[in-house]
């Protein structure tokens, strides 16, 4: 009995140890929102918005304000929030970066990613394009 328990624990430990971080692309979005709506929630009550959104997978609809590519080819998409000072920063998976780069300014898009909080922008990590009308 004890041996079984030890084996089970060791097995679980090994599984946890080698487990990759969850693939956000395969996860369902817990919340569907818009870039202006998301920013408004954070501006109204950042603590409440932190509790609600941080670590959650969300799908955000908005207009592409800008697309930036870094030296390693990694793409970041900024969604317009209607506020000049703030937007929604969406940092893409490396494999999803080519799709992100094909977006153009003003285009409507829904981006899915994991929310990490708000600096000046609300930031989404591990993003992919959810819907492209």
């Amino acid at each position: 009995m004890l041996l079984l328990l030890v084996t089970a624990c060791a097995g679980y430990g090994f599984y946890m140890y080698t487990k990759k971080p969850a693939d956000i692309r395969k996860a369902d979005a817990l919340y569907q929102t818009s870039a202006p709506g998301l920013l408004a929630e954070f501006n109204k009550d950042e603590l409440a918005a932190n509790k609600k959104y941080i670590d959650q997978v969300i799908a955000v609809k908005g207009k592409v304000a800008d697309v930036k590519t870094d030296a390693t080819g990694q793409a970041t998409v900024f969604l317009d929030s209607g506020d000049l000072m703030a937007s929604v920063t969406c940092s893409f998976y490396a494999e999803e970066s080519p799709a992100a780069k094909s977006l153009h300014q003003g285009q409507e898009v829904t981006i899915k990613g994991k929310c990490t909080g708000k600096l000046m922008d609300v930031v989404l990590n591990k993003c992919s394009i959810d819907k492209q009308p």
């Binding site: 941080i54 870094d70 708000k118 000046m120 930031v123």
Partner: protein, 184 residues
């Protein structure tokens, strides 16, 4: 308090009416390595915000701790829950000054070694740090910055349990890379 820091940063970034030259990025990369020979432990954050003033040398960074990405889910969980307590300490910031900014000619493409001094806030603990770095002027509108320095985890009250102390280094090597665009 953290809101105040970001608010100040926003003001600092967008203040107008001065003939100052400011550079800005929202896609800065900050990575760290805290592994030992026994295990690689590293994380990278690609959405750091940074601004600097080419006239005064003032420079600031801010990032969301939850934004660090890891190779292993367990490492990510330990980093957030046990070491950084990122539910409580959501942001990490650096505020300081490039002490020899006058040595950088922003009109002339090239590499310029610099020294940065300031206050680094990690895990709710603020400590003075000094780090060497390089500004690379690419053209009139783009400058990149890079820096590598070490911090002692104990200084920031990041405790390592005895069980894993051979796997985790007592210091973390932090590497920063930013590609700034001029603020108009």
């Amino acid at each position: 308090m953290k809101n105040l820091i970001v608010a100040t940063m926003v003001l600092f970034a967008f203040q107008t009416g001065h003939a100052q030259l400011r550079y800005f990025t929202k896609t800065g990369s900050v990575s760290f390595q805290a592994g030992t020979a026994l295990e690689d432990i590293d994380g990278v954050n690609k959405s750091a915000t940074s601004v600097f003033d080419a006239t005064t040398g003032q420079i600031e960074f801010a990032l969301l701790v939850k934004g660090f990405e890891f190779k292993s889910a367990l490492m990510q969980a330990h980093f957030n829950e046990n070491y950084m307590e990122s539910d409580k300490f959501i942001k990490s910031t650096f505020k300081g000054k490039v002490t020899n900014i006058e040595k950088v000619n922003f009109k002339k493409p090239g590499e310029y070694p610099v020294t940065v001094q300031g206050t680094l806030d990690i895990h709710g603990v603020a400590k003075p740090v000094e780090a060497p770095g390089v500004f690379k002027v690419l053209n009139d509108e783009t400058v990149t910055s890079s820096s590598t320095f070490s911090v002692t985890l104990d200084d920031y009250k990041i405790g390592i349990p005895g069980l894993v102390k051979d796997k985790i280094s007592k210091t973390a090597k932090i590497t920063v890379y930013c590609s700034y665009a001029i603020l108009k």
